[in-house]
């Protein structure tokens, strides 16, 4: 039999051709509005901010191109340098504390049997409270005279420090408030990760003689690595960009002890009306966030041995 004998399929009709073309293009067309929206809002703002950082502006928003002068000025500004270091310490403390708390909560919620849905729902509540409201609640809790913590300390007959007046303590309270706000979502991500682990694997580890600690470090952590990466991105991003909580809690004080980069950016751009230098700080924050996120994505998500990928 010659090959031509099988070629009796009729040529596609015009309608079939249109429908084939539609099948290929429609998915892309459906993505376009979302893409435009993200690019329009985010892309425009980022590009605009970067453009602004190369200019000097006066109070009437008249721009003069100054090249990298704003960057040179900002990096030589001791107030920026100390706010950057403060931010890095703030982020590290928030990551360590935040991830530890999220992990503990996620493990607790994973194992809780009675009232599972109630507790899972409740654990998300802080996330729905705005940063400002959270900060005001923390002020009530940590106010020197009449604050909840100091009342407890006074009942116990202990020293009652000035939480928001002492530079070190105020910094710690800011970290706590930040964690309080961001931990629920990170908990949810980690809980999702824990739930994907096949229970048989834990059973196998039990039979293999792994104790709770060994199981956690040798099985659980590697198994939820991608989720850990996602929650790290979340926690780092929120901590680097934190603004509302600090503004309402300490407004950068006392003695600039809690003035992180985003606070200083607000100070420069909206109080001193130096938008160019404010924009430089935006670029700095964006760079930190992007680089850190890429590192997390590389180490925690791309290099996932579970899918047969190694570094």
């Amino acid at each position: 039999m010659s090959l031509s004998a099988v070629r009796d399929e009729p040529a596609p009709t015009a309608a079939e051709r249109v429908s084939d073309a539609a099948r290929l293009t429609v998915p892309y067309l459906l993505v376009v509005p979302g893409l435009l929206f993200v690019l329009g809002v985010l892309g425009y703002a980022v590009a605009g901010g970067f453009w602004l950082s190369l200019h000097e502006t006066d109070m009437f928003m008249a721009k003069t191109f100054v090249g990298l002068q704003n960057y040179i000025d900002v990096f030589n500004d001791p107030r920026f340098q100390s706010s950057l270091w403060r931010t890095i310490v703030f982020v590290i403390m928030s990551i360590v504390l935040g991830i530890m708390m999220s992990m503990i909560f996620a493990l607790t919620l994973y194992h809780v049997g009675f009232g599972k849905r109630f507790f899972r729902g409740m654990s998300l509540v802080p996330y729905f409270v705005s940063g400002i409201a959270a900060a005001i609640m923390f002020r009530f809790v940590f106010t020197t005279s009449g604050g909840f913590v100091n009342q407890v300390l006074s009942v116990l007959g202990l020293h009652q420090p000035s939480w928001l007046g002492d530079p070190v303590l105020a910094f710690i309270v800011a970290v706590l408030a930040n964690c309080w706000f961001m931990v629920p979502f990170a908990t949810l991500i980690l809980l999702g990760g824990l739930q994907t682990v096949d229970r048989d694997i834990y059973d196998a580890a039990t039979i293999d003689g792994a104790g709770a600690v060994q199981t956690f470090f040798k099985i659980t952590i590697p198994m939820i690595k991608p989720m850990l990466g996602v929650s790290l991105i979340w926690v780092s991003y929120i901590s680097f960009s934190t603004f509302d909580i600090i503004l309402a809690l300490t407004a950068g004080g006392p003695q600039r002890a809690t003035e992180v980069v985003s606070m200083y950016m607000y100070q420069l751009a909206f109080l001193q009306l130096d938008f160019g230098q404010g924009a430089v700080l935006m670029v700095v924050l964006l760079t930190f966030n992007t680089v850190l996120s890429l590192v997390y994505i590389y180490y925690f998500i791309l290099a996932d041995r579970r899918h047969g990928r190694e570094l």
Binding site: D198, D200, I201, D203, A204, A205, T206, I207, D208, G209, A210, Q214, K218, I219, P222, M223, K225, D304, R305, R306, H307, G308, E310
Partner: protein
């Protein structure tokens, strides 16, 4: 009475108020290959997990090598388990998977290396040692799971439906591999499956379970040939045994004084030794392969309703005065639906059960 190597005494299990096992008594000899078989929800996996130490005991005793292990930790029972999902550690290479239990036991490096080498040799895993589970085929993962059990040098192997996730061809291959492994190591093995072919082909002893109880224990062919009750009769065998409701009646034939009337005017022969009284309501059981097809006037007339040629055998469905019968022929039968034929039944192949109790008569 001699003790079994693995022994259950009055073993009960409840999850909350729901009883799962109602009192299991069973002795498993050292070196035996025992298959627990039954439909889903019969408690076979629970029994296995209790043996492994992954589930607690509600009442009764589990003994391994003479010791009660009810409260002994899973890792100290001398067992190794192969899971249906393989349960390999996905972030560890084959080598690391095999080494894990020994590392947890703080075994010396030399001993770990030797154990891995041994297991890898037996299961042909040597070229795969550096791979990750995601880079293995289903059959290879299954072998790694067995290797992980092997390196522990357990006193008892536990298999929980290990072949369910494999395709049909691989399942047949792995079945033979597991059996060969058992013949080589002679380690006591408890194997859970819902697949009766696995149960029949692999076991020294089959334990048929149903609703948290043991229905029958015995050698595979013995159980197949003499099921003790209706459940076992119905569960083992594919296609399943024909089970026909009927009543014992007296006949005029000297050599067959009793028969079972399964429908108006249709009398089927029964074994002479069957302890059934005239008038008793019974279930008449005959395996499809024991229904003989003969020429239309040489037996009880039937009409063919469905013919399923499988190649190596033919499955037929026939209508016997309103009763549907399954017939299995090892020959190729050229019948078509609507064809007339007749059947003959050898009374010695008939299984008779009391309809009220389900027990064999």
């Amino acid at each position: 009475m001699a003790e079994g190597y693995v022994e259950y005494r009055g073993l009960k299990k409840s999850f909350g108020a729901t009883p799962i096992l109602h009192g299991i008594d069973l002795k498993i000899d050292e070196g035996a290959f025992v298959v627990l078989v039954g439909p889903s929800g019969c408690g076979k996996s629970t029994l296995l997990r209790m043996t492994a130490g992954l589930e607690g005991v509600t009442e009764g005793q589990i003994r391994i090598a003479g010791n009660v292990v009810n409260r002994v930790h899973a890792s100290k029972r001398g067992i190794a388990m192969v899971f249906q999902s393989y349960a390999l550690y996905p972030h560890m290479s084959v080598n690391e998977n095999l080494a894990f239990s020994l590392k947890m036991r703080k075994a010396p490096l030399e001993r770990i290396t030797d154990a891995i080498k041994g297991a890898a040799g037996i299961l042909q895993l040597s070229p795969l040692l550096e791979r990750l589970p995601a880079q293995l085929s289903g059959g290879q993962r299954q072998r790694v799971a067995m290797g992980r059990a092997l390196v522990r040098e357990p006193a008892v192997f536990l298999f929980d439906e290990p072949l369910s996730n494999l395709d049909a061809k691989l399942r047949v291959e792995m079945r033979a591999e597991i059996k060969a492994l058992h013949q080589r190591l002679a380690t006591t093995t408890i194997y859970v499956t819902h697949d009766q072919i696995e149960a029949m082909t692999m076991a020294d002893t089959v334990v048929v379970m149903h609703d948290g109880r043991i229905e029958q224990v015995g050698e595979p062919l013995a159980i197949y040939d003499r099921p003790e009750n209706l459940f076992v009769a119905d569960f083992l065998g594919s296609p399943a045994m024909n089970l026909l409701d009927g009543k014992v009646v007296a006949t005029d034939f000297a050599d067959q004084p009793r028969a079972v009337e399964v429908t108006d005017g249709v009398l089927l022969p029964i074994p002479s030794e069957a302890e059934a009284e005239v008038g008793q309501s019974v279930v008449y059981g005959i395996r499809p392969e024991h229904v003989q097809l003969v020429a239309p006037d040489a037996g009880e007339p039937v009409t063919m309703t469905l013919v399923e040629p499988a190649g190596w055998e033919t499955h037929l469905h026939a209508d016997l005065k309103g009763i549907s019968l399954r017939i299995l022929s090892v020959e190729r039968v050229g019948a078509k639906p609507g064809d007339k034929a007749a059947i003959l039944i050898d009374p010695e192949r008939v299984h008779l059960f009391d309809r009220a109790t389900g027990r064999r008569l």
